[in-house]
Point group: C2
Chain length 171, copies 2
DNA sequence: GATCCTTGCTGCGAAATCCGCAAGTTCCTG
DNA sequence: CAGGAACTTGCGGATTTCGCAGCAAGGATC
């Protein structure tokens, strides 16, 4: 009952509650704004406002807030291959002891694009982006396996990237 | 000798050659433009031009071409959790027969964000983004495992996303 | 080597957008 | 009821975007 439509005047951008990790919930209007910017990160505020039923100024304020809160970022994304990174791999890591130090160390590596803790036969999955085979080998064998707490790793070298989307909420 | 500096007038944006898959190579200036837009996808062309040593119009043309060619896209990216997708998983898939049909089928699913063919103990890795446990269960057990050619799957449910970057080339 | 053609860059107005601000309204909360 | 938050409308001025004409460099052709 707190939002009878996308253009409802009483919609609260933060939707009162907060989720467990402290990140704010988003109402339908902010979702719609994000979807607009997922289609085109440079779309003008007025056009977004027309699409979601808000004034240009309001959209501007919302976008700024979403960016400040870190809920969303507007960036250029590329196919790594095109930009000169020819070897990528997903690395499954098994850890003994606490996961956090290992995850932190992985996060600190510039070659590591993606770090996620998982349930399953790996404790951590990390995506590595490298310039060539030597570089990849170096990162996996010399740096990741050398981290204290790392019991074992398994690598999945990328052969072909088939899909890469950034369209959460746009379906 | 075809590029003695970032601001060189004779730098060829396509760098003459093409890579094996037909995607054009990028010269240093285009790389620099991409880096600027990776920091802020809405940065004005004039500011980028100042940073990379090009006129505003030239930057505009280059960016447009990069977008048209599909080398880069400017989009809003979010943490899926914040946008209401509470369950994510990486799914390793083993296939009997040819990989392509399976990869295509995965690519066609809206819940699948990421599909990559790999070397290693999985043939394909797919990242799945779902709203809740039921949704995730449905996608993995009913839809992915049901695909013809899928021999087995193994799931890694995400517990915590530690890092997510889009900064290829920005190091 | 002269010519043609393509590509990329510059420079420049005109149009559109962004940005900050102020006043007024509505709704919710303490 | 007072206070706060969010939105709207309206407004200029600064900035940015956009389209176009002109020019220079490089390659291809004859």
């Amino acid at each position: 009952m707190h939002s009878e439509g996308v253009a409802s005047r009483s919609a609260d951008p933060r939707d009162s509650r907060e989720s467990r990790n402290g990140t704010p919930h988003l109402d339908a209007v902010s979702l719609a704004i994000i979807e607009q910017l997922q289609e085109d990160g440079r779309r003008p505020y007025a056009a977004i406002g027309k699409a979601v039923g808000l004034s240009e100024a309001a959209v501007r304020q919302r976008v700024q807030k979403l960016l400040d809160q870190g809920v969303m970022q507007i960036v250029a994304v590329t196919d790594p291959l095109t930009v000169g990174f020819r070897r990528q791999a997903m690395v499954g890591v098994n850890v003994e002891g606490s996961l956090d130090p290992v995850a932190e160390a992985l996060t600190a590596m510039s070659e590591v694009e993606y770090v996620v803790m998982t349930a399953g036969s790996f404790d951590i999955l990390a995506e590595v982006v490298c310039e060539d085979d030597d570089h990849l080998l170096d990162v996996i064998n010399k740096r990741i396996r050398a981290l204290p707490g790392v019991r074992s790793t398994e690598s999945f070298v990328y052969l072909k990237l088939k899909k890469q989307t950034y369209m959460w909420g746009t379906r």
